[in-house]
């Protein structure tokens, strides 16, 4: 779960990390009022769950409440990229002397935490890592050992002397957030040294492990603030893994790997998948009905491909689920079905016995993908 900057900063402040004074605004008028409260000048920052806000016009310095209202109005109106915007963070302008970067991330390759620090602030860190990796200090922290003083010295040693103590304090507190909040990423870009010598987190990017949200009911509540596609919400509530894509073949499969593979094979057959949908081990009528409803609610879908390899999932139950779902919902497009694995023969017999006009049987994954792609492209199976 990726938090908004203002939510991340709430966590930073609770941990004692210095951040600029800020006020969340939901309208241009609130943005103007917040700017008055912060002394007549401010930074207007769009709140979205992705990076690249600076380059994309999502962070603007303004010198009057009127300008704040104007910029906020533009952000609410235009959104950011293809995201809608419902909140903006208005922050005080601070006298910055130098900018740096620091982060902790769970490193999949090593299974521990990787801390990074560079004296070059406000950068695209991936770009810097490619072009001048020597500019970044990296320290791996074994979770059994924890963050040690020598780790912190190594990291902050790349900063100017006058920033090291303040930065060390921030680093220790960021590490505490990782453990206490089950964060998989905490990133501060930029971390700044002010003219008065204070070190302040100007930005906050925090990702919380979804698998650990049961330990953090307070963080779980934050997710209510995030925009979610109503179709994705419906699928999620039914326990389905669904991701909307932009093609025309609706996909239902069991198991994440097989579904990903199905998307690829459909692409090779000359069409594009409309979604990723993993029913997991579920084969019930309920699961199949909801899955079909979710997929058919996308007007772009011209054909559906159901690709099941039954392990624990029984294909006869899947077949019954499909037929009963089609009694409940009115499918307006052809549905190609491929069943293999446990009780596949029985499942295929059930489908052929029913002879439903919308169901197009296929015996292999490749054949199924080809049929679905052809049906989506010109309405006829080859």
């Amino acid at each position: 779960m990726d938090l908004y900057e203002h939510q991340g900063k709430d966590i930073f402040r609770a941990q004692g990390i210095p951040t600029p004074r800020g006020i969340v605004a939901g309208t241009p008028e609130e943005a103007a009022a917040a700017t008055v409260e912060l002394g007549g000048r401010s930074v207007v920052k769009v709140q979205v769950q992705i990076g690249g806000r600076g380059k994309g016009g999502g962070v603007v310095l303004v010198d009057s409440p009127e300008r704040a209202a104007e910029e906020a109005g533009r952000m609410f109106r235009e959104g950011f990229g293809d995201l809608t915007v419902d909140r903006i963070l208005i922050e005080e302008l601070l006298p910055i002397a130098k900018e740096f970067y620091t982060s902790f991330v769970l490193d999949r390759a090593t299974g521990d935490h990787l801390a990074m620090m560079t004296a070059e602030g406000g950068v695209d860190i991936e770009e810097l890592a490619r072009t001048r990796p020597e500019a970044i200090r990296r320290v791996h922290v074994d979770p059994m050992l924890g963050l040690r003083m020598y780790h912190v010295r190594e990291l902050t040693g790349t900063l100017p002397l006058d920033a090291r103590e303040g930065a060390a304090d921030v680093v220790r507190k960021l590490y505490a957030i990782l453990g206490e909040q089950d964060a998989t990423l905490v990133e501060v870009n930029p971390l700044v040294l002010l003219e008065d010598g204070a070190v302040v987190a100007l930005d906050a990017k925090v990702t919380i492990d979804d698998n650990a949200l049961w330990r953090h009911p307070d963080l779980q509540e934050l997710s209510a603030a995030f925009p979610i596609d109503p179709v994705e919400a419906r699928a999620r509530d039914a326990g389905l893994q669904y991701v909307k894509l932009d093609g025309e073949v609706g996909i239902i499969g069991n198991g994440a790997g097989l579904v990903m593979s199905t998307l690829d094979v459909v692409a090779q057959a000359g069409a594009k998948a409309a979604n990723f949908l993993d029913i997991g081990g579920g084969a019930s009528v309920e699961t199949m009905s909801t899955s079909l409803e979710v997929i058919l609610s996308d007007p772009a879908v011209k054909a559906v491909l159901i690709n099941i390899f039954g392990g624990i999932t029984r294909c006869d139950l899947v077949a019954q689920g499909i037929l009963e779902a089609l009694v409940r919902i009115d499918a307006h497009v052809p549905i190609v079905v491929r069943l293999d694995g446990t009780n596949a023969r029985l499942g295929r017999e059930i489908l052929s016995g029913a002879a439903h006009p919308r169901i197009v049987p296929a015996t292999t994954m490749l054949e199924a993908a080809q049929k679905a792609a052809d049906l989506a492209n010109d309405g006829e199976a080859a």
């Binding site: 198991g255 990903m260 998948a273 994954m365």
Partner: protein
Amino acid sequence: MTVFVGSDTRLVVQGITGREGTFHTLRNRAYGTQVVAGVTPGKAGGDVEGIPVFDTVVDAVRETGANASMIFVPPRFAAEAILESADAGVDLIVCITEGIPVGDMATVHSYVKGLDVTLVGPNCPGVISPGEANVGIIPGEICTPGRVGLVSRSGTLVYQIVHELTQLGLGQSTCIGMGGDPVHGIGFIESLAAFQDDPGTDVVAMVGEIGGDDEERAAAYIADNVTKPVVGYIAGFEAPPGKRMGHAGAIVTGSKGTAAAKAEALEAAGVRVGRTPSQVAELVQAAAG
């Protein structure tokens, strides 16, 4: 010959009295796996269809000589279950549980790497050596004994590719489902090393997916260490960046972890990469000669 599990595996099941635990334990036993014990705290003295239940893994190991454990406990207790098995001295731990917090797994990973134990998973379908032993949830009836080693991050792609291999008359020495979590036990490299050393394996098929750099690191390892032919498959060419595709670890982050980059790295290391599961089976057949 097989790797990791075989006829000498003596299995203890943690969480044996749960619904899933009981179901798969009995399936594994029916397949021929020696299931010698179960563990559910507070249920010592009972049994599941004749399999004795103990309170702790230490008790189970002492009383039955178990040398491998399989974990079916819920995600909030599963990391602890792995540590318990590791401390009880089993050689192999297969953790099926999905949804363990990754911070918990980082601690487990750090601890077990210092011990002489092989961890498979979590969030994995397990390991099967066809005809000898099945530890996990891979349906035994789709596999046949043979000389192809298979390792995969995805469970259902194990099934799909085994099915394609079987269609071509190619059996398997061992199939390893390493799991889809970002921090996990053994991966491609440890599996490839085991297959390289296994006289019962002639060809290895490795099935990857988007996210992380396990496949890239495996490619570097293969170039330097693996002389047996390796065939690859990567799922997720069509996955958009920033979207988690089902598995916790299946996500393209920025420009990192794409299917194209992984396939390219493998091909540069001499691995033949199939573009569909059927093509993988054909490439394996060609490599097996």
